[in-house]
Symmetry: C2
Subunit: 336 residues, 2 copies
C-alpha cells in the first residue's frame, strides 16, 4: 500500500474510541490525505476537529467506502458485520475494533508489539483485540519469550469508559446523585456502578463465564500464537473513568526472579516499568489515562508455586486498549 497519503475512514467516529482514533491519527501525523467520518444517522451534521479542519460526520452506509484505503471500525460488532464487507469490497483494508471477526481463522488479530508479522496475511480485515487482552499480551509476550508462560490467572479492574461515553456519564451522574442523597438511576449497567464493583462485563455465557472473560482467554492464545497457554479470568467493572488495571498471576516453565522479570520488561516494547514500592510508585489508572504505554509494577515472585510471578498491569483502555493499537496496526500496514 504505497503512496503519499491515504484516504482514511472512521466508522463510529463520535463514540469514545472513535474520537480517540481521530485524535491519535492527528497526534501521530498519520499520512491521511483525507479523513471520512462515519456514524449513525443521529450524529450526521456534527463536525469534528482534525488538524486545521472541521470534518463533517456522514451516515455510515455500504457506499461510504468508495476510494477509502483504510477503514477503522469502532461502531460495535453488529455494524462491523454489516458494513465491513462493503468496505473490503470497495478496496479498503478494515481495521476492526469490535469482536465481530477476531476469532475468525483468516483474520489476523494483532498487537504490533507482539505479532506484527500477522498483519501481512490479512484478506481485507485486521482485528484489533479486546482492551484487556491488549495490555495483557504486551506484558506476557516478553515473559513468554524468556521463560515460557504456562498459566495465567487474571483479575481485571476495568474502567467505565470501556463501555463507552454513556457509561462515563452514568458514573458521573450516579456519584452526583449519591452525594446529594438521591437515588441513582441505572441505564447503562444493570446495577449501580458508583461506589460499587460489578463482576459482570458483557453477556453471561454457558458455564458462568462472561463473554469478556472468554474473549480475553481466547484472544490471548491467538495473539501469542500458542494454544497451550492456559488462562482463567475474572473481569470486573470498577468506578474508575479511564484506565484498566489488572492483577496478573503468571506461572512459567522456567524460573524468573522478580529482578529478571523487571529487567526483561524494562527492555520490552510498549512497556513502562513503574515499580518502586519504597516511594509508593506503582501503576495507577489515573496516571495511565492519556498515555501510550502499558504500565507494569508490583513485580514479585509468587511464593505459592516454584516458577510464578505476580504483577500489576495498567493501561489507557481507549488508547493502547483500542484506538492507539488500531493506528499502530495501520502504521505497520502502510510500511508494508
Amino acid at each position: 500500500m504505497p503512496g503519499e497519503g491515504y484516504v482514511v475512514a472512521v466508522a463510529g467516529a463520535t463514540g469514545a474510541v472513535g474520537r480517540e482514533l481521530v485524535r491519535i491519527l492527528e497526534e501521530r501525523k498519520f499520512p491521511a490525505s483525507q479523513l471520512v467520518l462515519l456514524a449513525s444517522e443521529r450524529s450526521v451534521g456534527r463536525r469534528m476537529a482534525f488538524r486545521d479542519e472541521e470534518v463533517p460526520v456522514d451516515a455510515l452506509a455500504p457506499e461510504s467506502f468508495d476510494g477509502v484505503d483504510i477503514a477503522f471500525f469502532s461502531a460495535g460488532a453488529e455494524r462491523s458485520r454489516r458494513f465491513a464487507p462493503a468496505a473490503v469490497e470497495a478496496g479498503a483494508v478494515v481495521i476492526d475494533n469490535s469482536s465481530a471477526f477476531r476469532m475468525e481463522p483468516g483474520v489476523p488479530l494483532v498487537v504490533p508489539e507482539v505479532n506484527p508479522e500477522a498483519i501481512r496475511s490479512h484478506q481485507g480485515i485486521i482485528a484489533n483485540p479486546n482492551c484487556s487482552t491488549i495490555q495483557t499480551v504486551v506484558v506476557l509476550k516478553p515473559i513468554h519469550d524468556a521463560a515460557k508462560v504456562e498459566r495465567v490467572v487474571l483479575a481485571t479492574y476495568q474502567s467505565v469508559s470501556g463501555t463507552g461515553q454513556k457509561a462515563v456519564e452514568e458514573l458521573d451522574l450516579q456519584v452526583r446523585a449519591l452525594l446529594s442523597f438521591e437515588e441513582p438511576t441505572c441505564q447503562v449497567y444493570p446495577h449501580q456502578i458508583a461506589f460499587n464493583i460489578l463482576p459482570h462485563i458483557d453477556a453471561f455465557e454457558e458455564g458462568g463465564y462472561t463473554r469478556e472473560e472468554t474473549k480475553i482467554i481466547n484472544e490471548t492464545k491467538k495473539i501469542m500464537g500458542d494454544d497451550s497457554i492456559r488462562v482463567t479470568v475474572t473481569a470486573a467493572r470498577v468506578p474508575v473513568l479511564y484506565g484498566h488495571s489488572e492483577a496478573m498471576n503468571v506461572e512459567t516453565a522456567y524460573k524468573l526472579t522478580a529482578d529478571q522479570c523487571r529487567d526483561i520488561l524494562s527492555r520490552a516494547p510498549g512497556v513502562l516499568v513503574v515499580d518502586d514500592p519504597a516511594s509508593n510508585a506503582y501503576p495507577m489508572a489515573i496516571d495511565a489515562a492519556g498515555q501510550d504505554v502499558v504500565f507494569v509494577g508490583r513485580i514479585r515472585e509468587d511464593p505459592s508455586i516454584e516458577c510464578g510471578l505476580d504483577l500489576w498491569v495498567v493501561a489507557d483502555n481507549l488508547r493502547k486498549g483500542a484506538a492507539l493499537n488500531a493506528v499502530q496496526i495501520a502504521e505497520h500496514l502502510i510500511q508494508g
Copy 2:
C-alpha cells in the same frame, strides 16, 4: 465464663469498627451487664448510644480494665500491644481486632464458622483475623473439607472503610473536589483514591509484597490449620465505601463441578450463594454493606486446570470482616 451478664469493654470505641462493635452488641442482645467505652484522650467526654443509655467514652489506660470480663480491642496494633496485657492481667479475655498477636503461637486466630474449637485454648487473648482473611476462609473451609484446597490465587477489591472513618471521608471529599474540577487532597492515602485503584494496602515488605497480602497468606493457613495450602494475593484498594470484593481462584486436589461447589456453599454456615447470571444476580459491595453473611457467586469451573474453581466473594468488611466476627467469638466464649 458463667453468669447472667458480662462487663464488656470496647477499646477504640469511636473508630469505624468500634462503633460497629457497639451496634452489633446491642443488635445481637449480647448479655452485657455494663459497657465500658474506651478511646484516645481526644474522644473523652463523647457519649455513644447503647440500648437506652448514653454511655460516656473514657480514656484508654492500663487501669481501664478492673472488673472487665471481655475486652474488645480495635484501636490499632500499637495500642493492643500496649494495653492488652493489662486487660488480661485484670482478668479480662481480650478479643483483639488488630494484627498485634494474630500470628503468635499461643494466640488462637478465630473465625467461628471455621475453627471455633481454637477458642478454648486461649491464654487471655483471642485474635480476630484481617477483614479479607475472614471472608476468604469462610468460603474456603467448606471447599477444603469437600475437595482439599491446594492453592488459592486471590485478587482483592477492598473498600476504603477498611482503612477507617478518615478514609471514608477522604473518598467523599476527593469525589466532591473532582466533580467541581478542583484538585483533590490526599491525607490518608499516598495517592488519589477517587476514580482510581491503588495496588497498595498497608506497608510494603521485602520481596515486594504488602503487609496486607502477607497477612492474608499467613492467617489463612493458621485459621485453616493447614500449612500446605499455598496462597498468593494481590490486594488493591478501590473507590468503594463499604464492602470488600474478591476474585478467588481455587485449585483443589479432587474435582468439584460448579454445581457441586454451589451446593456445598449453599449449606455452609455464614455463606449466602447469590449466583444467577441470567437475572444479573451476583454478589456486590453495595448489597453486602450492613449484612452479616459472606456472599459468594460467579461460581464456575476454571478451564485452565483440571480441578479449579473461580468465585466472587463479597462481605461487609466492618461487620463479618471485623466487628461481627469479634462478637461471634465472644458468643462462643460465653457458651463455654
